[in-house]
């Protein structure tokens, strides 16, 4: 039984995750409290990505409920969400507009420079390296100022400094009362991590 708390950021109860009309997980429960970091583990094909897509509302749940309690969230999936013809800055600005937020230009520039992308500001994303595109996608986490972060394999193609940055960002996000759900093979190794193994449940 999951503990229901009035300050819970995200509450999932009785969710059925299905792929191609075949249930992968049944009666899945999860609650994300402020400051929580939940790592979802499991072998390839166990439904990590699909589960995150349900949580982000990209797929609609047919059975069970997902309650975000109108908290804002940021989803960084395996696809970057960035258009190759637009510059890093334009993409980031669009992502904030898309989430109904008015982030100022100086704020967006600060986020880009924090990720070492200041010089790429006016370069089309198509001309950036895979790691830089990844950094740019993760920059949306800071730009969006969301309470809940949903990250799908965030460590893919990141170098060591970017991984350190991400760990720091998640830690300060948790300290400010946010929650994060991360689907990953390699553990982030942060303290007080709750792990859900999809193969066991």
């Amino acid at each position: 039984m999951t503990q229901v708390n009035s300050s819970t950021l995200l509450q999932v109860s009785g969710l059925e995750v299905e792929v191609a009309e075949r249930p992968l997980l049944t009666d899945f429960n999860l609650s994300v409290n402020p400051g929580a970091l939940i790592e979802i583990k499991g072998p390839n094909g166990s439904g990590k990505t699909t589960l995150l897509r349900y949580l982000a509302g990209i797929r609609r749940a047919h059975r069970g409920s997902i309650d975000l309690r109108s908290h804002s969230f940021a989803y960084v999936g395996q696809k970057s969400g960035l258009n190759a013809a637009l510059t890093a800055y334009e993409n980031l600005r669009w992502l904030t507009q898309n989430a109904d937020q008015n982030t100022s230009e100086t704020e967006l520039m600060r986020v880009l420079s924090e990720l070492g992308l200041k010089s790429c500001r006016d370069m089309p994303v198509g001309s950036l390296s895979a790691g830089q595109v990844r950094r740019c996608g993760l920059a949306s986490l800071l730009a969006l100022k969301a309470r809940i972060w949903l990250l799908d394999e965030p460590l893919t193609s990141l170098d060591e400094s970017a991984i350190d940055w991400l760990k720091g960002a998640i830690t300060s996000h948790r300290a400010s009362g946010g929650g994060a759900v991360v689907a990953t093979h390699a553990t982030l190794g942060l303290p007080d991590t709750e792990t859900i193994d999809l193969n066991v449940s």
Binding site: R53, I58, R59, R60, W94, L95, Q97, N98, P124
Partner: protein, 223 residues
């Protein structure tokens, strides 16, 4: 900011950076109309304005279909479509913005070339105004159906033939009404019925097709 403005700005900006997506259908339009005018050896089309009008409409139809075939394919590939759906923006309004930008980028330049095409095909200048009046709503409907077909084949990958098979039958009523209005006007017959018909179809398409497109975009994320 409004979902319409956000989608319009984004689609327009991306389209502006890919000028060939607009220029190719324009080139296609000019090439086909000029080849037809050469093969008819000037003047022989003049006796039958009806045929020239039909040719012009069909060429415009094919060029707009060519232009809207890639709608949303990029957004689907790079994941920006899932960001739109995840953040729960009004997809209906967003589709409107995106289609409007696409119409400005791809259909308006072709409609602007119509005088050139009409001149090459020897269409009487008195018919030009009715050509414009019918081609503007006509091109809106063509663009909407083209985007509908493109979203239907989103998961399938690039499939031009399938797209043509799916949407061509939908184009036919507008094509018949449009050509009919122009031909009747050229023959000094009453054409108001056909004109009202094409405007009605355009209004209906603008109102209802974005619902269908939005629903298809959601379905495309379900597998």
């Amino acid at each position: 900011m409004n979902a319409f403005v956000i989608a319009f700005n984004r689609t327009f900006r991306i389209g502006w950076r890919h000028p060939l997506d607009s220029l190719n259908p324009m080139a296609f339009f000019i090439i086909v109309t000029s080849l037809i005018s050469i093969t008819f050896e000037g003047g022989s089309l003049a006796t039958g304005d009806g045929l020239a009008i039909a040719v012009l409409w069909v060429v415009l139809l094919l060029s707009t279909m060519m232009a809207s075939g890639g709608a949303y394919a990029q957004d689907y590939e790079d994941g920006s479509l899932e960001q739109v759906i995840a953040q729960n923006q009004s997809l209906y309004v967003s589709v409107h913005g995106s289609v409007a930008a696409r119409w400005f980028l791809c259909a308006v330049p072709i409609v602007a070339l119509v005088p050139l095409g009409a001149w090459m095909l020897n269409i009487d200048t008195e018919v030009w105004w009715i050509l414009f009046i019918t081609l503007i709503p006509g091109s809106i409907v063509f663009t909407l159906f083209g985007v509908l077909g493109a979203t239907l084949t989103l998961g399938v990958g690039r499939n031009g033939v399938l797209l043509a098979l799916l949407v061509l039958p939908l184009y036919v009523p507008v094509l018949l009404l449009g050509v009919g209005a122009c031909q009747r006007s050229a023959n000094q017959e009453p054409f108001e019925f056909a004109l009202i018909g094409i405007l009605a179809i355009a209004m209906g398409a603008i109102t209802f097709l974005p619902f269908a497109i939005a629903a298809l975009l959601r379905v495309s994320q379900e597998y």
